[in-house]
Symmetry: C2
Subunit: 192 residues, 2 copies
């Protein structure tokens, strides 16, 4: 739980009352690799702060093929934002891919927290701006960069997590076949 409090303290002035309120609405979970925290097709009103470990959000198309939308690492937030903000069923699943500690917050509790402690609003605006930026970048990168350039960007964006991620997760994030990913990696090794 302290990781979440420290995260907020580094971003905004958190009064003793706000900290207590936050502790009262947050739930800490230790999750093992493979555990699904949000499941496609089910209601979702939760957002997770990642204190350690690694998660991913993904969708499955009608042919059963998975597409990884986002990896989540320490100090990041992860959820299905469509379900969270539109009060509908989740279009994404969120799965733990490296043993993790996450802190769960519910949409309505966060709303009350925001209303009672307005200092939190500016943080939330900044956080939503960052989310919009990362989603816009995700779209543009897929449109504008080659597979090899997307791989380089992945290494830069998510340093030190490559070894924790299965090949098919990474390939499904980059939007390429596993064989193409192997070729890109082999080329990198030869270039070194």
């Amino acid at each position: 739980m302290n990781e979440l409090i420290e995260h907020f303290q580094s971003k905004l002035t958190l009064s003793k009352e706000a900290e207590q309120f936050l502790r009262s609405i947050a739930t800490e979970h230790t999750v093992s690799k493979g555990k699904v925290l949000i499941r496609e097709g089910q209601k979702n009103d939760k957002i997770f702060f990642i204190a350690s470990g690694c998660l991913r959000s993904y969708c499955t198309n009608k042919n059963g093929k998975e597409h990884t939308l986002q990896f989540g690492i320490k100090d990041w937030w992860i959820s299905d934002y469509i379900a969270l903000h539109e009060n509908t069923v989740a279009q994404l699943s969120v799965e733990c891919i490296k043993n993790a500690k996450v802190i769960e917050l519910k949409r309505n509790d966060l709303k009350i927290f925001r209303e009672q402690f307005p200092a939190f609003q500016a943080y939330q605006i900044r956080n939503l701006e960052r989310l919009a930026v990362s989603l816009q970048k995700r779209i543009l990168n897929q449109l504008q960069l080659s597979a090899s350039e997307r791989y380089d960007l992945f290494l830069k964006t998510y340093p030190n997590i490559e070894q924790d991620i299965a090949n098919y997760h990474l390939a499904s994030f980059l939007g390429i076949a596993q064989e193409s990913l192997s070729r890109i990696r082999l080329k990198r090794i030869k270039e070194k």
Copy 2:
């Protein structure tokens, strides 16, 4: 200018002072089809509220191919959110595709407005949530739906604008060749 005030009045309680402040920071422009309001590679600190007409945001890949990210119609906002929120150069261009009236606001002015009139914060949070949802949907639709399903969704999302949009704009939004778009349209006509 009244369109923007009315839009806010329908979403939040706007005091006389807040309205005056808003009028002092907003600039109205009449823009003709073809006019570029934000240009890829240039600094951008503006966001546009669309009072009438139609705009689109797009990027160009290294082969010169355009990809339309978003169409903007009456009562929507449009900008390059990466440049806007990260204070970098624009990765998108924003172009008028049907004569329009837009109301321009600058990022820093909006920040001051938000600080002086906290009621605006909840609106901005809701607006950013909607933006994140629409961007997440844009990604998932491209991954999960067929070209024909994406065309149907376009008609639903942007009713009555098809006739204002050039074929290559729409094809570049759907991520298909113009010939494929023609085939889909022909099939629709035959089905009727």
